[in-house]
């Protein structure tokens, strides 16, 4: 198995007023293809910053990040957007759906930015919504869906461009435990189908369901 995500001595510093905050302070790790990894740490540990960097939503102050064999250092905004679009599917804690679009158009949205024609976008989004068990909710807007259903739409959206990596930030954090378990099951299914899943959580019991746990504390990998 080869590493689909590799970080080499990654640092991320913020300047807040006069002080420099070391959000990440020299992280080196690699995540294998087809793995199910939990990045676990308490709030303030730097795990969200780490997720942003892996997801190419942010760039490191120093160090190298390699996504699917591609070194992201020095890439411009357009190239980073392309990586986010093609290689990474995001699932956020609070779903992050666009309220004015229905489930189908929400799930199809990433394909708009891949330049896929409307008809194909809808076909593909339909397929993904069926995959997550929402075939009867496609024309509903987020406000008409339950929390679990919203998160399924978000997962369908993350899958729609067929990325290698699913990056989930506390995906069950806003759900009740039953629904949370259903969503976790869905992630396991997707993993068994060969998708690499990276899970960011502070919840130890959720993390223990994952194949591997990377504990983060004070901006470092805790050993």
């Amino acid at each position: 198995m080869s590493a689909v995500i590799a970080l080499e001595d990654v640092c991320r510093f913020y300047v807040v007023g006069d002080t420099v905050v070391h959000a990440l302070d020299g992280i080196t790790l690699s995540i294998e293809e087809h793995s199910f990894t939990a990045i676990m740490g308490p709030s303030g540990s730097g795990k969200s910053t780490l997720m942003a960097l892996i997801g190419c939503l942010d760039v490191p102050t120093s160090g190298r990040i390699i996504i699917d064999g591609e070194d992201t250092a020095g890439l411009d905004e357009d190239a980073l957007a392309w990586i986010r679009n093609r290689k990474i599917g995001f699932v956020f804690q609070h779903f992050s759906l666009l309220p004015r679009l229905n489930a189908l158009d929400n799930a199809a949205l990433p394909l708009l930015y891949s330049g896929v024609p409307l008809k194909k976008r809808r076909e593909r989004a339909e397929e993904m919504l069926c995959r997550v068990g929402l075939s009867d909710r496609m024309r509903h807007r987020p406000s008409e869906l339950s929390g679990g259903q919203k998160q399924r739409v978000a997962i369908a959206r993350a899958l729609v461009t067929d990325p290698q990596i699913l990056l989930a930030d506390e995906p069950t954090g806003a759900l009740d435990s039953t629904t949370g378990h259903e969503v976790m099951e869905l992630f396991h299914e997707l993993n068994s189908e060969g998708r690499t899943i990276v899970f960011v959580t502070h919840d130890g019991s959720l993390a223990s369901e994952c194949g591997r746990i990377i504990p983060i504390r004070d901006g470092r990998v805790a050993l």
Binding site: A81, N85, F90, F92, S96, L98, R100, Y113, L118
Partner: protein, 396 residues
Amino acid sequence: MMLRENVRMAFSSMAGNRLRTFLSLLGIIIGVASVVAILNLGRSASESISASFEAGGLDTVSIMPRGSARETMIFTEEFSYSLMREIDGIREVLPVVSSVANVRNGQEIEEGTQVQGVTSGFFQSNSLSLSSGSFFTALDNINRRQVVVLGSVIAEELFPAGDAAGRYITIFRRNQARSFLIAGVLEDRDASMGTTYNEAVFMPYNTYVQRFRRTDQVGTYVVKVAEGSDAIAVAEDIEVYLNEIAGSDYYRIFSPATIKEMADAVTGTFSSFLAAIAAISLVVGGIGIMNIMLVSVIERTGEIGIRKALGAAPRMIRSQFLVESVALSLSGGLIGLLLGSLLSVAAVSAAGWTLHVSPAAVVTALAFSLAIGVFFGWYPAAKASRLEPMEALQRE
């Protein structure tokens, strides 16, 4: 493809907040409506002024002697011939004399009626036509016959039964009463250039001179310009000639063509001036658009973050917001165009003109609103495109 999607998103976003959309469009709507109304009104006004000048005869130059000094003694009938001789481009010179008299038929008396002595060519030259009877002839003029042609209104007032032609009227002047045969009655004709045909009584020039006048002075010379000649140039030549022989104090010259030129210039300047003021309101409208777009970018920071996370490149975000601002301003422009057109129709019909749509107004309205959308939308759109994805997401 992206454009269609952007347009769809723009209208869905506008529809999502109707009142706010409408309020932010008000500036553009009012601006465009006033530009359209002003340009349309300006054009309609100048077209109807032109029409009234054309009715008054753009091929006519009138010369009116004034004062009683020795110089005015040159304005006799002979002057008609010297004008023809001296100035190129004149078809004919029609001397007109006039005064005010009381006119009677039985019990019906019209006081203060204008009585004009004209040659028989006068009617044709002014494109006057008859509703009954006939014009008097050149022979009537030579023989100084006591015949008249009546304007439509005075005929109606003296002969309510409408049977004026062939009857007689009495004209009083200087304590003398004379009887005139009515040869014909003119068709109704709108007053133009200070000449009212409907209330006047016309008789042969020589008859007038013999019966009513004591001096040789002619009241007005109506100069008809030859076909193919420029009335304005002829008027200028006449002016030069008159200044030589009489001096500028002793006549007034009056040419519809010259006045039309001035009037056109005035309406043109006036409407460009008003349009410039209206353009200021377009700029204000543009600032309104920019304001609402900036608010929208701030409000939708989270949405922008999501879109960026899903792979939207900066230029895609920029074009989304740019399309939205253009959609806003073009909608405002279209509503303004509609409103301005309605205003023009209302104002034109109130003024009694005919509506002449100015193509420039339509083009200006749409081009301006497009330009405003791009110009004032650019900064907010650029701002949206530059947001850091992670920061934007955190503000969701």
